[in-house]
Symmetry: C2
Subunit: 727 residues, 2 copies
């Protein structure tokens, strides 16, 4: 028991230090010394050297050396540029003089740019003075969630509203980290771990959002902690200590309740679970080296850190701790006029919803909302050059604030690269029918913006892919590691007929539990301007009259302009098909079609949980595949501003019920991409990527094919390559 | 009228020559002179130098020089190898001594390998003697469709069955070509063309399958011809002579009927319709050169012309005049045992169905079945190196027979290449939650088999993409040129309210007519052997009992093994989701799951035409997305063996109604990929590629992730490149 006592003492000490720090926080004023700026070890123990800016891993392989981004001296140049390190420090300094922060313990949960009003941003042009810089802060002060705006120009807190909503802000990483350690301070917890034959030093624990299921989950920030054995593998996720769930108060770090079931369930074996290349046996190399090469370098530039210009596209790109990637002011050049035309004011991952399909004690609450609970961007780790992104990729760092308001750098969080898979942009060959000697083919090259968020076990790869034909493809890839359940079964032949395992037996004693993934995107379309309409183009079967035609039926496209939000609550129907357009009713093409973009789904899945099930009420933004709302600054997060332990009172589904007018208005399109995931053995011990996507596709936006005039590939343009001498 | 007389004389003469040729056809015996083998100008006027083998365009850019395929000396080495030039000549020689061919005019519509019995092929191993070579011939002799088998060993016709089915064989290219010229022999036709102000020399005509709408389309081979003006553009498709439809007897080449409507509809302008790079003005180059480079060369080999070996895959590949690409004996190597395991015995495009949505006189019959009517492979033209396929692609030629039985070579008809788009095979990074220093990422490289069929205006790109994780993705890309309709309208503001244009006004006087595309795939799955079962894994909502759980609902996977064909007539339901597995019930994984593959749809569309509409009866194979039939040699073409003017009596839908047992049998999976296409201005004058796909994905086929042991990319393996001096 010696070890436990030492641990308890350690956590007590840590707790004291934290309290000391908070109460003395204004003393921790920023200085101009770069070392201190980037040294976040004062408080944020997780903010290790990994989060320091690492120029050496940045774009190593580019033929042109990357421009070194000096975060210490960076200044914003575009109204949407994220906060710089200097601005975050200034914000922290302003807050530290603001009375509530002075007098009470606080944690900073959000500290990002408060984007200027949309009309001002739209009007702003390069060369204009930068718009006033304001900061959106969400902090818990003395147990209350405050929504603040800090004006950097005046150095004032200009708004401070205490939230009356249920739910709490995005967890800080400090919340998550401390939660994983807190159970060790509890004697009962340690006893049961040891009784299960696990060394405390082999424990790896995860903080699991509790969701909300009624009174028990109200009026305090709660989290559940479940643990795994690290013994013999880095892939502890495959070694669950099944049935042991610790309910913690996130603020006091005190254990509220321990549910200690499933002691009879063995911890699955470590063998064959480690996926690290250094650890796998029988390594195989199936494929010769292959690389995307650009002898004259990439065709894109990233101006002033965030403005991406490529081919006929231009857009602003920034990392965000909650959304991950924010694409703003996406504009495409018209091939006829040469003018840049607005397509989308802002696009981002708004929320995720990942319900697991097991109603038992240790599983029912697993209904993650990864953006609003964990911070989708906070979980986006540095990308691995040459593997996460090909050669010639440009890497962009995230600059975020820790719980104490101190900035840190998440290096290489986003990459931008050109992709060429050998695909075809357009083609036509004359056939043997006409015998004409024509064969015209254009290769397809795209620009990809990528991030990969590791929300504990799962890895979400989010791609924004821009095509020269005006199409934007948004793709979500799922990889990483399953959340698995321990079981006493080693073979399906031991499972009594009719018993529900809630998933698939993946290996001895390991069940991959069935779950869904929903990723909801916020797409503020501005097709040639802000005032747009949403049109449902419904394909209906028309029956011909007797004698009218040898045909009995054909499809007709009926256009219906949505007047209000409820007209635009769209459930896809395979046998009642429609297209969904966002058009500008005031802008017609030469022959009189309204210019537009349509949203085109690929494979998706719909939630079929009971709409009254608490998780589905919180995740009600997945009740439809498509929604359209009038633009409203405060409606950006589909699950609500405060998602953690929310009751579902502030979701997209609730806003949409207001049934506001949406015709010829500034409107926002929402799309939910879904996956049902019944795990299979191939997902063990790490999952091959499964992807799905949807497209924003021009529809009568251009007068004609916008890539008609682009050239084919010719031999003379391609590089001359040789194997590296070392290969 | 001078010109007309000359033309008439020309066609009369041509007709006479054709008749002479047919009646003297046995004289045209093959010789061993290569020049004559490859010179198909004797009869096939369309079979020009374009169809000669062109080694110079073959794989120009490969660092290794391609092996030169000498079609003259090629011999089959695998039981599924397509007929060689020698074998086609030998078949022709055997047929020419066979009495019915001697005594009557004939045309050869199909002349391909009669594949040996499946069990023999499965048993055959490299080194075994080649299985007996037989030839499947479909010929029209004296107006009757004969299905013959020619045994090359014995030199005998061993089967000759006159078809009693409605419908005719795939058109020959000679049928199509002569049809486009035949109307010129009709004075009324020429009169109306001239009256419309079109020079006969500017005419380009298309042969359009008539479908079947009742008595009028029976008992003779009919075709409809519609024409366009070539004046001022190669893209005559954009210049329809609207409303003029010539009904021809395909055998007599006589005009049966001319429907001459729409004289008031102007021919749309030629301006801005030509898509050839040499003709476009204001050329733009948006992107720097980009290339997929492989410093050590590709990782695949094509053995003996048709056996592809790549990474952990091996399969047989051949061009086919009807299906296009046939992938056979696809096997994947088990990473644990090192053994090759069967996945699919045969996969191919079985049929297409492309109904247009306009019931009026000149359009109602446009309900194409491109494989059974036009020959999907016959329309696959030589691929364009560097544009249709990247550097390092391997090109495979098609060797087919013309209407007279003489072989010809369709060079570069299929390409095989490795693709790397910068995508991720699998990844995991530990998150800030655990703080562990792990970032493991594997790049995703795939092998693509591609062909592109130009069925007159449309281009279909068909990709079979093999992944190292065992997945096969089948992707269909649509590009090429719309089939458009002339209209008197130049702007939508001229169209009376409520008038149905049957499509979109794309340019002045041009309407892109709404249509669907369905591509039906034949997938003879043999998962670890021939006897397989089809399992529907239905995800259903389970409601919890009161007090059972804070959750009200969760999803449960219910497995249902299909007993008979009707159990496996699958319509996808978004709100009643299922997975569809083909399993081997006799082969279990270590932990007792049956090994299997599942079919995973991405975006698709379903036909909602009236099931009693004649086109939908003929295309009834699109009534479900998935079907499963017991293996039957004679059931490979979803629309029936004789699709041209078929009545729908011999489709997959009819076979499936037999409701035969399919549990633990050799079964065939059928999947239909659908597209609704409401044209938009971006599709004018040539369409950016639109793609959709579906996957065959291992599900408990492997014991675990089969690509766990593959290495990440490292800098040292990648090539060192420079721009070509000429660039």
């Amino acid at each position: 028991m010696e070890g436990r006592t030492v641990l308890k003492f350690f956590f007590l000490l840590l707790g004291l230090l934290v309290v000391l720090f908070f109460t003395h926080s204004p003393d921790h004023t920023p200085t101009n010394k770069a070392t201190e700026f980037l040294d976040c070890s004062n408080y944020s123990s997780w903010c290790t050297f990994k989060n320091r800016f690492q120029p050496k891993t940045n774009n190593l392989n580019s033929p042109k050396k990357p421009k070194f981004i000096n975060h210490n001296t960076q200044v914003p140049t575009h109204p949407l540029d994220p906060l710089t390190i200097q601005e975050i420090y200034k914000t922290r300094s302003i807050l530290s003089s603001y009375p509530p922060f002075k007098s009470s313990p606080f944690t900073v949960h959000t500290l990002v740019l408060e984007e200027p009003e949309k009309p001002l941003v739209v009007k702003w042009k390069k060369g204009d003075p930068l718009l006033p810089r304001q900061v959106s802060v969400i902090a818990i002060i003395n147990g209350k969630s405050h929504v603040l705006i800090v004006d950097l120009g005046s150095g004032q807190v200009i708004r401070d509203v205490v939230s009356s909503l249920n739910g709490y802000p995005v967890m800080t990483i400090e919340d998550m980290n401390s939660a994983t350690r807190a159970p060790l301070a509890d004697a009962n917890f340690n006893r049961t771990i040891i009784a299960r034959g696990i060394k405390l030093s082999d424990l790896a624990c995860l903080p699991i959002s509790t969701g909300w299921f009624g009174k028990k989950e109200e009026n305090r920030r709660l989290i559940k902690v479940q643990c795994y054995s690290l013994q013999g593998t880095a892939n502890f996720y495959m070694r669950p200590i099944e049935g042991l769930t610790v309910l913690l108060d996130m603020d006091t770090k005190k254990v509220v309740e321990i549910s200690d079931q499933g002691r009879n369930i063995p911890i699955p074996k470590a063998e064959n679970t480690d996926y690290r290349y250094s650890k796998v046996l029988n390594k195989v190399k199936l494929i010769n080296p292959i690389s995307i090469e650009q002898p004259k370098g990439p065709s894109f530039v990233v101006e002033d850190g965030h403005l991406v210009k490529w081919a006929n596209w231009e857009f602003h790109l920034k990392p965000d701790p909650r959304a991950g990637v924010i694409v703003s002011r996406a504009m495409v050049r018209d091939p006829d006029t040469g003018n840049l035309r607005n397509v989308m004011y802002k696009g981002m991952t708004s929320e995720l919803f990942v319900p697991y399909m097991d109603p038992t004690d240790a599983w029912y609450f697993k209904t993650y909302m990864d953006a609003g609970e964990y911070g989708f961007g906070l979980q986006a780790m540095p990308l691995d050059p040459l593997n996460d992104c090909p050669r010639n990729a440009h890497y962009m760092d995230g600059v975020f604030a820790a719980a104490d308001g101190v900035p840190f750098v998440r290096s290489n969080m986003i990459c931008v690269f050109e992709s060429y898979a050998g695909d075809i942009g357009w083609r036509h060959a004359e056939s043997p029918i006409t015998g004409m000697e024509i064969r015209e083919v254009r290769p397809k090259v795209t620009l990809v913006v990528r991030m990969a968020a590791s929300v504990a076990n799962y890895d979400y790869i989010v791609d924004w892919e821009f095509q020269t034909d005006g199409l934007i493809r948004i793709k979500v890839g799922l990889s990483g590691i399953l959340m698995v359940k321990g079981t006493s079964y080693e073979n399906m032949n031991q499972v009594p007929n009719g018993q529900n395992l809630y998933g698939t037996l993946l290996s001895e004693n390991v069940v991959g539990v069935i779950h869904d993934h929903y990723v909801t995107f916020y797409l503020d379309m501005d097709v040639d301007g802000s005032n747009n309409s949403f049109v449902k183009v419904n394909l209906v079967r028309e029956e011909t009259s007797p004698g009218e035609s040898p045909r009995r039926s054909y499809l007709k496209a009926n256009r219906h302009v949505a007047k209000t939000e409820k007209d635009a609550q769209i459930k896809f129907k395979l046998y009642d098909p429609s297209e969904f357009h966002v058009i500008n009713p005031s802008k017609l093409t030469r022959v009189g079609n309204p210019v537009g973009y349509k949203i085109v789904a690929a494979g998706t899945a719909a939630s079929i949980l009971d709409p009254q099930d608490p998780p589905q009420m919180r995740g009600a933004f997945t009740n439809n595949q498509v929604w359209v709302t009038p633009y409203n600054r405060s409606e950006q997060w589909a699950g609500g501003l405060f998602v953690y332990q929310s009751h579902g009172e502030d979701t997209l589904a609730v806003w949409s019920e207001k049934n506001r007018p949406i015709e010829n208005k500034d409107i926002v399109l929402w799309y939910t991409l879904g996956f049902h995931h019944v795990p299979c053995q191939e997902d063990f011990p790490i999952m091959p990527t499964v992807s799905s996507s949807f497209d924003l596709k021009p529809v009568n936006f251009f007068e004609s094919n916008p890539i008609l005039r682009t050239p084919p590939n010719v031999e003379e343009d391609l590089p001359i390559c040789r194997a590296a001498a070392s290969a």
